[in-house]
């Protein structure tokens, strides 16, 4: 069935077109929406695009980083100031997917994809959204919890504070196929340290629920403590709390629950 393609120069017009039509989807890099169209997804009858340059802008000069929703993973890998995000960007797809897939689209990627969003969740990112009526800034965990209802809104950008030190942000993706493959699980942690104490611990998990989630029990085990063996042990033991992984071809829910603590322990203790 032919699809109507609507391309707008202004994001406001694109957002209005998206919010007024339930069968409209925003087309970013194409790795999700074109895939759905190729599979014959009849729920999509209109594809909306925006050619606004702001959608592909990277602002990484200051302490707060803003990535336009249309920034590709290849662009992130080419950006020296974003070195701490190279591991999550490189863990996605092969080169072609990284040349196409975008930061904004990754927010909507279902399990076993969406690895970059796990990193964004650990960095407490804020998602800038243009709706039919105006713009909003939504904390990323809130955005992910209501993700199914967000398809009518246009994601403009995602922003977050740069980690204070390179060691404060850590990322690990467990995949069966290397170097490319969907995730068994994905982990990202952000551990800002004040003195020797962790203040504002964030632990984000991918493929442990329908959307990336925060492991809040593990965060509580880390908060206010020094990152020593007993703290790491407590966080690892708590990693599985509140998760609801599913079965798929890459791993069973049981397996994911079994390994999440093991990999969190390795990530926190700096093991390969």
């Amino acid at each position: 069935m032919p699809i109507t393609v609507k391309t707008f120069t202004s994001t406001q017009d694109a957002a209005a077109a998206l919010s007024s039509d339930r069968s409209a989807r925003y087309l970013g890099g194409g790795t999700l929406v074109m895939r759905a169209l190729n599979e014959g997804d009849i729920s999509i009858s209109t594809v909306v695009r925006a050619s606004d340059q702001a959608m592909t802008r990277i602002d990484a000069s200051g302490s707060r980083i803003t990535l336009g929703a249309g920034v590709t993973f290849a662009r992130i890998l080419a950006e020296r100031d974003l070195g701490f995000l190279h591991a999550p960007a490189r863990s996605i797809g092969g080169p072609a997917v990284r040349n196409m897939g975008t930061v904004g689209g990754n927010l909507f990627a279902p399990v076993p994809y969406g690895d970059f969003t796990v990193a964004m969740l650990a960095l407490d990112a804020v998602v800038s959204v243009q709706g039919g009526l105006g713009g909003r800034e939504i904390p990323i965990d809130e955005f992910l919890q209501s993700r199914d209802r967000q398809t009518g809104a246009l994601v403009l950008a995602i922003s977050f504070a740069k980690p204070g030190s390179p060691e404060a942000f850590r990322y690990r993706k467990i995949a069966r196929i290397k170097p490319k493959g969907g995730a068994v699980i994905t982990l990202a942690v952000h551990l800002p340290v004040n003195g020797s104490r962790i203040v504002g611990a964030r632990v984000a998990l991918g493929s442990m629920a329908p959307t990336p989630i925060r492991a809040r029990a593990a965060e509580r085990a880390l908060e206010g403590r020094a990152l020593d063996a007993s703290t790491i042990g407590a966080a690892a033991a708590a990693a599985v709390d509140g998760t609801s992984p599913g079965d798929n071809a890459l791993a069973s829910a049981w397996y994911r629950r079994e390994i999440v603590g093991v990999h969190l322990r390795r990530l926190l203790s700096g093991q390969e």
């Binding site: 109507t4 393609v5 194409g30 092969g94 080169p95 072609a96 196409m100």
Partner: protein, 159 residues
């Protein structure tokens, strides 16, 4: 529904076609332009056999909305040979038995070309990374990696 006019450069030649809304670039290339070198594999971005270069960058044509290449340069396997002479990568693939059934070969060659255009002397690890989005079920990849390294070193064997 009205078709959309679309013009772009296909292997250095300007082409103009009319596409239905939602047509992907792979369908446009194969069915409207008659370039059968990019193959349909999975339609999901998982296999890489539809890989083409858009403005020199590796893309999956099955996941590219055809309209988005308006005014841009699309390069397929059909365009890499020089008249009757095979491209050095094609020659190396033949010499190193890097094609068995051949279905992945167009995508492998374009992924390898994207690498060598940017990095003429890649390491083995860089070759592995460059073809990591392309699936081959015949060769076990080793002959393909060796072929790309052989092409990179101008046909000389490489340790």
């Amino acid at each position: 529904m009205a078709k959309t006019p679309l013009q772009f450069s296909h292997n250095g030649r300007d082409v103009a076609i009319f596409v239905d809304g939602g047509t992907n670039l792979l369908v446009a290339l194969r069915e409207l332009i008659g370039d059968m070198t990019p193959k349909f594999g999975c339609g999901q971005g998982g296999c890489g056999t539809c890989s083409v270069l858009i403005d020199g960058e590796l893309h999956l044509s099955c996941l590219t909305l055809a309209e988005t290449v308006a005014g841009r340069s699309v390069e397929t396997l059909d365009g890499i040979k020089d008249g009757p002479n095979l491209h050095p990568l094609q020659r190396a693939f033949a010499d190193n038995f890097a094609a068995q059934c051949g279905y992945c070969t167009p995508g492998m060659l374009m992924a390898a070309k994207a690498l060598l255009d940017r990095n003429p002397q890649p390491s083995r690890a860089e070759v592995v990374e460059a073809i990591s989005g392309n699936i081959c079920r015949c060769t076990g990849y080793e002959p393909i990696i060796n072929a790309v390294l052989a092409a990179a070193s101008g046909g000389r064997a490489r340790a």
